[in-house]
Symmetry: C2
Amino acid sequence: MTYCVAMRTNSGLIFMSDTRTSAGVDSFAVTRKMFSWAVPNERKITIMTAGNLATTQSMISLLEERSKAVEERDPSILHQKTMFQVARLVGATLREVIADSAPSGQTSNDQFRASVIVGGQIKGSPPTVFMVYPEGNFIEITDDTPFFQIGETKYGKPILVRMYDPEMNFEEVVKLLLISFDSTVKSNLSVGPPFDLEIYRNDSFLSEPPKRITDADPIYKTISSNWGEALKEAFQSLPHYNL
Amino acid sequence: MTYCVAMRTNSGLIFMSDTRTSAGVDSFAVTRKMFSWAVPNERKITIMTAGNLATTQSMISLLEERSKAVEERDPSILHQKTMFQVARLVGATLREVIADSAPSGQTSNDQFRASVIVGGQIKGSPPTVFMVYPEGNFIEITDDTPFFQIGETKYGKPILVRMYDPEMNFEEVVKLLLISFDSTVKSNLSVGPPFDLEIYRNDSFLSEPPKRITDADPIYKTISSNWGEALKEAFQSLPHYNL
């Protein structure tokens, strides 16, 4: 399993992904699920993946044009004119990989499926995020749906629904995401730290490498251990149910 | 979908179930998913069901021996000597109903499946709870696993994991369950109020009818609306993540 969240606030975009990949509880490893491309002062694109690892790695390799000789590579993801076109390229690539993996003559098989979040900004348009389905179609983030999740989405959703505020600054959003990830980690063994984090400030077109937050990170440890206590105080502040 | 929770504390057992049944978003209704049997001063048994409604209603009818003439009925659930034997009876009945529903010659079909929580106390043994699977086998509640959930379990689980304390009184447990149910209702349209609530105090062997908590209940409305605010304060009390 996997847990990835992309969120849009008034300040920009925030991406966070876990790094655990598993083929059963006795076979797990750390793998990156967040990938980005940048052209300084012109575009910044981030992709997060969930689902079959062979499918998602193959999709990323094709987007990076690793099927061509090194000197011939010129990834078309760097030349799409809009984020909408980027989402179409990602969707077409994803669908193609799944179709290639499925046994010939059959419809695409569940076991090769994957989901993708792609977001960023290309000069001339505002930042945006798309969620791309295995069929290659996609939906776009809106003010009413200001975040997308893929993978093990349910445990960490209620806190996002209750706490999201478009006015939050990046520090607050990262704290919120760490709580959501910690709730998921505590409930599903197949989601685990370290977490990859990428922050994109509106109109910055900057290429900053993702930050990796390990389970030894002092702030993450504090948030993880103190959230239970903070919840208990919140709980006490509500009226009891009189039986 | 459905959401039911059974929890054991030092004071007794608490059962809560939602009441929404649906066959698509354009076909939904209120239906009871909590059933109980009592022999004053001797036993109290409560069952909650999730899954195919035809399966669970048929199982309850068989447990009530509605396949016999009214004057011949003497439900064997009232004569089992231990809760373990009650769980075996429920498991066997559930498996039988699913087998009867599945097309002949095929293995039991997913669409007829259901899960059941059965708990209570029979004089001479402590109160306990079992979770019964569609195959008829079951697991028992322990101090390490002090609650069972069936149906849409994920949204409401993190708050239970963080807040459960065996020393809680019934008023606190009901508040905790209402927060868990409210988180689920806010995330899944197929779970909805009113909620049925049954509380069993250790060694009481009392037959109290379940209480029904509607969405107009003033305490539920207060908890539902104020939990977001209480969470915000808890959130502010944690350190920000310094980027």
